[in-house]
């Protein structure tokens, strides 16, 4: 029998660094880092397409955002794992079925890519067209100009929102628990379901999520500092950026 209000700190102490929990942390981190990387690459490609002179590329980019931002991430996760194999049996190169982790990663990446497309688009638009003209006048081709001149300057603008996306992803990755990827939240869920120690297990995962998001905020502040190189005014100190990043933590929303 559990006594009401009796929080057992022992459960937390015993499990905070248990192999089970650490395994969940590792999966959560892997999902976040990989999906942000793939999503970032997708967002860069579709963001550039969004500003293309070719109408079909622009349309593809708009359609991508429309579809993946307009449907719930949860629906997309279930779609990639259960529905797509039903629709198209053999679609995946690996014996027809993605593992839960793979399907979750695809779902998170493709969904993230839609948000990243918007962010990259805004970043690219923030770069003065005079920069492209200067690069062209030096004999730089379009792709070289994009890589060496436009993208590095867009970075300054996109790092704060990408940091927010990263933090949101640390938390949103828990949605793949529905296709039984044993990331941090699913580990806790299985435990509280069998032990009924809800409070303890929710505290365990919350401590971990807070630790991860805090570290991510600090990294974001550092990156913002780095990419503002050469910009005047030198702007906010690192301290102010850290505070700002921590404030944003409280504000950003899930999907």
């Amino acid at each position: 029998m559990l006594l009401a209000g009796a929080l057992d700190w022992g459960v937390i102490g015993d499990n905070l660094f248990s192999d089970l929990v650490l395994g969940g942390v590792r999966l959560t981190l892997a999902l976040t880092v990989l999906s942000m990387t793939i999503g970032g690459a997708l967002g860069t490609v579709f963001g550039i397409m969004r500003g293309s002179r070719i109408a079909a590329l622009r349309a593809a980019s708009v359609g991508y955002i429309w579809l993946f931002r307009g449907t719930p991430l949860l629906v997309q996760i279930v779609f990639w794992f259960f529905a797509l194999p039903q629709l198209w049996p053999g679609w995946a190169p690996w014996n027809g079925q993605l593992s839960p982790f793979q399907a979750g990663l695809v779902a998170l990446s493709v969904n993230e890519g839609a948000y990243m497309t918007e962010i990259m688009r805004a970043g690219l638009l923030s770069v003065d067209p005079g920069q492209v003209e200067a690069a062209k006048s030096l004999g730089m081709t379009g792709p070289l100009t994009m890589r060496r001149i436009v993208l590095p300057q867009a970075m300054r603008v996109v790092i704060p929102p990408i940091g927010n996306e990263f933090i949101a992803m640390l938390k949103n990755s828990s949605l793949v628990s529905v296709i039984s990827v044993s990331e941090l939240f699913l580990v806790a869920k299985l435990q509280y379901s069998s032990t009924l120690r809800y409070l303890e297990w929710l505290l365990i995962v919350s401590i971990w999520y807070l630790a991860l998001t805090t570290v991510a905020s600090l990294a974001q502040a550092w990156l913002e500092q780095r990419f503002s190189r050469g910009r005047r005014p030198q702007g906010r100190s690192l301290g102010a950026r850290v505070t700002g990043a921590l404030e944003r933590l409280g504000r950003d929303t899930g999907r």
Binding site: D128, G130, Q131, E133, A134, A135, K136, S137, L138, G139, M140, T141, G142, L144, R148, I149, P152, Q153, R156, R229, G230, R231, R232
Partner: protein, 257 residues
């Protein structure tokens, strides 16, 4: 081939929507020549320069640089748009200096100057650094190699921009009101660099409102109004005895100020 003028602009037309901005401009620039382009605001001076290195497309006529069409290739007597790569190849040899500098803010002065030599010409970093620091020294910024554009004055930024263009070892330099965005006390340092270049034999096409510079440094004045070249003459002639009414009116307005 080297007898041929470096730049031949033949009957070039340019429209923005319904507005005809260049109305059949023809202009020839010989190797080593400095030509100053004067004209009232909105007459099409910037547009002309931007057409020369194909930052703008043209709607008629042709621009031939060093024997090659810029931005187009001729197919069965008609001009077709040229590929990005080939246009970029021609642009390497045409330096451009902008009114608003357009330095790359994320790179240092030296980074600005070495970027294109490394990534376009394929110079090694060491070669590019040597060339770049030499050029920055030449424009008087040998001590500021590691400064970011935001840490430099307008005059210094424009000198970096000139060095950046020179680092490609262009055959032609285009200047679009290179001193117009500068505080008056900074104009001189930039003009000095431009005079030095001219004296060194660089071929230059200079859009400017600095009449003194045009008189001393240019071999020829091309006066533009309403998208056509109204008058072309050596500076002495143009300033003392302009042939056309429009040039007289233009000079009259400037002297009243």
């Amino acid at each position: 081939m080297s007898e041929r003028p470096l730049l031949e602009i033949v009957d070039v037309h340019k429209r923005f929507g319904a507005v005809e901005v260049l109305n059949g401009i023809s202009l020839t620039v010989e190797r080593g020549e400095v030509v100053a382009v004067l004209g009232p605001s909105g007459s099409g001076k910037s547009t002309l320069l931007r057409c020369i290195n194909h930052l703008e497309t043209i709607d008629g006529g042709r621009i031939v640089f060093d024997g090659r069409l810029v931005g187009y290739r001729e197919v069965d007597g008609r001009l077709r748009p040229e590929s990005d790569r080939r246009t970029a190849r021609v642009r390497r040899e045409i330096g451009m200096v902008f009114q608003r500098f357009n330095l790359f803010p994320h790179l240092t002065a030296l980074g600005n100057v070495t970027e294109a030599p490394v990534h376009v010409l394929g110079l090694s970093r060491a070669e590019a650094r040597e060339r770049g620091s030499g050029l920055l020294a030449r424009v008087g910024l040998g001590e500021r190699l590691d400064a970011y554009p935001s840490e430099l004055s307008g005059g210094q930024q424009q000198r970096v921009a000139i060095a950046r263009a020179l680092a490609m070892q262009p055959k032609l330099m285009l200047f679009d009101e290179a001193t117009s965005a500068l505080d008056p006390e900074l104009v001189g340092e930039v003009l000095a660099v431009m005079r030095d270049l001219a004296a060194d034999g660089m071929t230059m096409l200079v859009v400017t409102h600095e009449l003194e510079f045009a008189r001393d440094a240019a071999r020829r004045i091309a006066f533009i109004d309403d998208g056509v070249i109204v008058e072309e003459a050596p500076p002495a002639e143009f300033f003392s005895a302009p042939r056309t009414e429009r040039a007289r009116a233009f000079l009259g307005r400037l002297h009243q100020r």
